[in-house]
Amino acid sequence: MSVSRPNFAVDIFQNEYLAVGAREVNAIVTVTASGAGTGAVPAQRAGQHPAGHEPGDGSAVVIMIDCSGSMDYPATKLQNARKATAAAIDTLRDGVAFAVVAGTHEAREIYPATGRLAVSSADTREQAKQALRKLSAAGGTAIGTWLTLTDQLFRSRPEAVLRHAILLTDGKNEHETPAELEQALARVSGRFTADCRGVGTNWNVPELKKIAGALLGTADIVAEPDGLAEDFRSMMTGAMNKSVADVALRVWTPANAVVKYVKQVAPEVADLTARRTEAGPRAGDYPTGAWGDESRDYHVCVEVPSAAVGNEMLAARISLVLPLPDGTTEVLSQGLVRAVWTDDLASSTRISPQVAHYTGQAELASSIQEGLEAHRAGDLDRATAKLGAAVRIAHATGNDGTFKLLQKVVDVLDPKEGTVRFRNNVSAADSMTLETRSTKTVRVKK
C-alpha cells in the first residue's frame, strides 16, 4: 500500500503595520495539506504491520447509533439509521478497525461485541451488517456513556492512530446530567475525533455542536431520514481520506503577550482558544485533529506590548506540529506573524482583506446563533435585528449557502441593508438547519 503523509504549508495573511500605541495583531493562517497518498497511512506507522487481518491500516472507526425509544417514531428513522450504517460499513477499507455501538441511556456493543474493534474485511463487514438487526429502539439518551464506550473500544487497538467516530442522535441528552456529559467529553477529547448528526428535529443544536466541537468534528442536521445513507457514506469517505492524526497548531508569542483567541475560520468557525495546552516557554498547542489533503484557515489574535515607531517585533511564530511516538514533536511547517510600528497612517489603518473577511464570517455565525436564541426567548425585535445583520454579511461576503438558509427563516426585504422580516410558520427543520450550519464560512472572494 502506498504510504505518504501530506506536505503542510503555512501562509500568513496580515497587515503587520500598527499605529503608535496599538497592541492588537491579527493574522489569518492558511494551512494547506497536499500530496497525501491514497494509502492514507500515517507515516510513523508505515511498514510496521504486515498485510492481513491485523489493522496495519492505522485507521479506526466507531459508529454510534441512537437507539432510544423515539427512534421508532416514525419507524423510518431507525430503518434509515440501519441502512446508513450499512452504507458506512461498505465504505470501509480492508484493514480498518471498526465497531458499531447502540446508544440509549447506556451504551451497548452491537458489533463485534467482543470488547475490541473488529478488523475490516469482506467477512467482518458482512457480519457487521447482519448484526445491525440487533439495533432496536428502547430506552433513553445518555451520550456521555456512548462516548466512554467508544473510547474503550479505541483503546483496544492502540496501533490505530487515526481514530474517528460517527455519532447519530435524534434527541436531547436527557438521561444524564449536563455535568456528566461534560466530564465524559473532557475525558475523551483528544482521544478521537467525531462527526455528529442530528436526525429529525427533536435534538438540541447547541448541545450537538458542543460535542462535535470538543471532538474536532462536524455537526449537521439530517432532517429527512432518507438522506442519512448518503451522508454516512460521505463522512466515512472523509474519515478514510485522513492520513495524519493529532496535528496541533503551535503558537509562540513573545514575553508579556497574550493570545486573545485562536479560531478555525474555514471551512467552519470553531473557537480553539480554550483548547490550549502549554508547549514550552511562551508556546501553546491548539488541536486541529486529523488531516488529509485539505486546506483550513485560522484567525490568530495576539496582544503584544507596544513598541516605539520604527520597531519590529515577532508577534507570533505559528507552527504546525505532529507528536512523534518518542514523545517529541516534529514541526511540519511554520509562518511568522509580525508587528511593525509606524506613524504612516496609510499603512497602519489598512485592514488585511483576509482578516476583515473572517471577522465578518465569525460575526455572521454569532448573529445567527444570537438571533435564533432571541427568537426562542420571544424577543422578536432582537431576533430580527440579529438575523438582519446576518443577511447583510452573508450577502456582502458571497456566503450563498448561509444566505439561502436565512431566506427560509426570514423574508429578505433589502439584503444590502439587512432589512428582514420573520417568516410566518418557520419550520423547526429550517430553523435548526440554519442554526446548525451557521458556522459554515466561505473563503475570501478572489
Partner: protein, 342 residues
C-alpha cells in the same frame, strides 16, 4: 595575503586593493560567513538581553527584531566614502548604496558611487534598491574599464538597474501585496549615481535622490544642487504653478514622478556632467538627508570644511545630522572628494 578580486557573495569583481565589496559590503579580506556562524556563542537580544535569538533574527523571549547588517553601513575606498542608516522611524533600511574605484584604459583612476532609495509604497523596496545598486555598479565598472564615455556609461547603468528592478516584479516570489492587504506597486526605487574620472564629474538620476556640489571654500564659491527631482513639487515649481516653499510644504510634495521598476511608465534617465575648477566634494544622497537641509547652502553648513580629505567622517556627520533632526526616513549619503588638476 591572497587578494580576492571577486566578491564571494554577489560575484562582482573588484580591485585588488578593495577591502570590502562595493555592493554588498562583505569583507573581501576575511573568510566569509560559515565559520563565524558555527563558532558563535548564543546571540544576545539587543532589546531584552536574553541570550536566545532565533536564526531568523527574532528574540525567542521578547520577539524583538535584531539589528540587520543593512541597518547601518559604512564604507570607504580611496576617493569615495558612504554611510547608510535606517533612521529612527522606519523598521528597516530600504536605501542601498555602492562605491567602487576602477581604472580607465588610459591608466587614470575613476571612482563612482550609486545611491538608491526603495519606494516605500512598493513591494519589497529594500530588495529593489539593493538590486539596483548591484546592477548599476556592475554595469558602470565594466563600461568605464572599457573606456566608455562617463555619460553613456551612466545611462547604460541606469538602464541595467531599471531592468534588474523590473525583473523583480516577475520573479514569481510572494511580495506581501496580498498578504498585508496593501495595494502595493511593483518593486521600485529611485537612483542617483556619480562618476569622478579625469577631472570631470558625471551625475545620473531618476526620482528624488539627489546630488550636490559643495566646494571647500564656501565664501569663494557657491554650493549648488546638481539634480532636478522627478517629483510633484519639482514639476509644480518648474511649471511656475506654485512658489518653491509652498510646493515643498504640500502633502504631495514628495510624490515622485520617475522611478525604476515594472510600474514606471517610461524610463527617463537624466545625466549632467561638469568639470570643477575649485576643490570640493560631490554628495549624493537619499531624501532622508536632504529633507532636513533642502537648499544647497543649508546642506553645505553641515558638511565639514575638510570633507574632501575626510569623506567618511563627513558622511557620518551628515547621517548624524539627519538622525538628530528626527531621522524620519532612511538616510544614505556618499561623498566623492574632487581635487582639480592644476
Amino acid at each position: 595575503m591572497p587578494q580576492q578580486t571577486v566578491c564571494p557573495k554577489c560575484v562582482l569583481s573588484w580591485d585588488e586593493e578593495d577591502a570590502f565589496c562595493g555592493v554588498c559590503g562583505l569583507s573581501l579580506q576575511a573568510p566569509p560567513g560559515p565559520g563565524t556562524a558555527a563558532t558563535g556563542s548564543a546571540v544576545v537580544c539587543v532589546h531584552c538581553g536574553a541570550a536566545d535569538v532565533a536564526p531568523d533574527g527574532y528574540c525567542e523571549a521578547c520577539g524583538g527584531s535584531q539589528p540587520r547588517p543593512r541597518d547601518h553601513q559604512e564604507r570607504e575606498l580611496a576617493g569615495v566614502a558612504g554611510v547608510s542608516d535606517r533612521g529612527l522611524r522606519h523598521h528597516r533600511n530600504e536605501d542601498a548604496f555602492a562605491l567602487a574605484r576602477t581604472t580607465l584604459p588610459g591608466g587614470e583612476a575613476a571612482v563612482f558611487a550609486v545611491v538608491c532609495d526603495g519606494v516605500s509604497s512598493s513591494a519589497r523596496p529594500d530588495e529593489a534598491s539593493a538590486t539596483a545598486v548591484e546592477a548599476a555598479a556592475g554595469s558602470l565598472r565594466s563600461s568605464l574599464t572599457r573606456g566608455a564615455e562617463p555619460g553613456s556609461a551612466m545611462r547604460a547603468a541606469i538602464g541595467e538597474a531599471a531592468r534588474a528592478v523590473t525583473a523583480l516584479a516577475h520573479d514569481g516570489r510572494a511580495d506581501g501585496r496580498q498578504a498585508s492587504g496593501r495595494s502595493l506597486g511593483a518593486p521600485a526605487c529611485t537612483y542617483v549615481g556619480a562618476v569622478s574620472a579625469a577631472g570631470a564629474v558625471t551625475i545620473g538620476w531618476v526620482g528624488d535622490t539627489r546630488a550636490y556640489w559643495v566646494p571647500d571654500d564656501r565664501a569663494a564659491a557657491e554650493p549648488y544642487r546638481l539634480t532636478e527631482d522627478d517629483s510633484w513639487a519639482a514639476r509644480v515649481v518648474a511649471a511656475g504653478l506654485m512658489p518653491e516653499a509652498e510646493a515643498y510644504a504640500d502633502p504631495r510634495a514628495h510624490a515622485i514622478t520617475g522611478w525604476l521598476g515594472a510600474d514606471a511608465e517610461e524610463l527617463d534617465p537624466h545625466t549632467v556632467s561638469f568639470t570643477p575648477h575649485v576643490p570640493g566634494v560631490v554628495l549624493i544622497c537619499s531624501d532622508g538627508l536632504w529633507n532636513y537641509a533642502e537648499a544647497a547652502t543649508d546642506l553645505a553648513e553641515v558638511v565639514r570644511t575638510d570633507a574632501r580629505t575626510a569623506p567618511l567622517a563627513a558622511a557620518q556627520e551628515l547621517v548624524q545630522f539627519a538622525i538628530a533632526a528626527g531621522g524620519h526616513d532612511n538616510i544614505t549619503v556618499a561623498v566623492l572628494p574632487i581635487t582639480p588638476t592644476a
